[in-house]
Amino acid sequence: MKRENLKNYDGKDGRPAYFAYKGKVYDITGSKLWRNGTHVNRHHAGEDLTDFMSMAPHAEEVLEQCKIVDTIDDEVAEDIFIDRMDRLRDWYRRFHPHPVTLHYPMGLFYFAAFMQLLYLIFRVSAFESAAFYAFIGATLTTIPAAVSGLFSWWVNYQMTLTRIFRMKIIFTLVMLVFGISGCVLRFLYPGISAGTSPLSFSYSALVFLNVPALTIVAFNGGKITWPS
């Protein structure tokens, strides 16, 4: 039997009640413990219950009382997809690319803002140059950090959009927009930091505003690592 066909044996409306366990299909039609295809109001006929046995108050020996009616054909698309996701999760756990990549933009955006602040106070051009190069580096390294974050969201959290992930995505986009805009402005107007025009103010604002944006992203990332 293909796994997808197992769903048809849900024990409801007079249909037979089957479940799968370790590749075998068991028939529990008519069992008092499986009324209307439901067991202890938690497990449903038509599903694979292999992973749930360790949580059960009974051992797998109870299945000896059930009749085996078929086996599961594992060569179906759904299984292959699950295997692929497991492999990707394993790969992510081994190399954890998001924690590896996210520290570069974090450090560089803070450093860029600090250098720009020093420039505005002391008017030493080396500080301005350092701020600019750090800002470019931060913007560029935001891309792999964002991509690895999306990858983690996909393999570990099935792309479920909760408040934490929504905040991380929105403010990462804000960081990228601010970063790219700031880099373009500074490329077009190399002396932009020295002026007092609204454009000069805007450039410095972009450099500084990425600090709170980054902090919001990092704060929400911390909620994932240390949930309260």
């Binding site: 938690r42 749930f52 360790s54 949580m55 570990n156 959290y157 479920t160 909760t162 994932i224 949930p227």
Partner: protein, 77 residues
């Protein structure tokens, strides 16, 4: 269904969602420990613990599916 219920469901989904990778990591940890075990009793213990973590993950995934379904209904989709 009121907004309060939707908020509660969203928070619960977040809790369950964050718990799943922890169960997976814990299982991986116990499986590695089982491989390194130097006695049959400790190997069995770590294998059992790994199996339990798999059960926790499966339960959490089941709950997550239920919560997502309920949230979808609450939002009127």
């Amino acid at each position: 269904m009121d907004k309060q219920r939707i908020k509660e469901l969203e928070e619960m989904i977040q809790v369950v969602l964050l718990a799943i990778p922890r169960e997976i990591s814990a299982r991986e940890f116990y499986l590695q420990a089982a491989k390194k075990a130097v006695s049959d009793s400790s190997r069995l213990l770590f294998s059992d613990l790994a199996e339990q973590e798999k059960g926790h993950e499966a339960e959490l995934r089941r709950i997550l599916t239920e919560l997502k379904t309920e949230l979808k209904e609450a939002r009127g989709h």
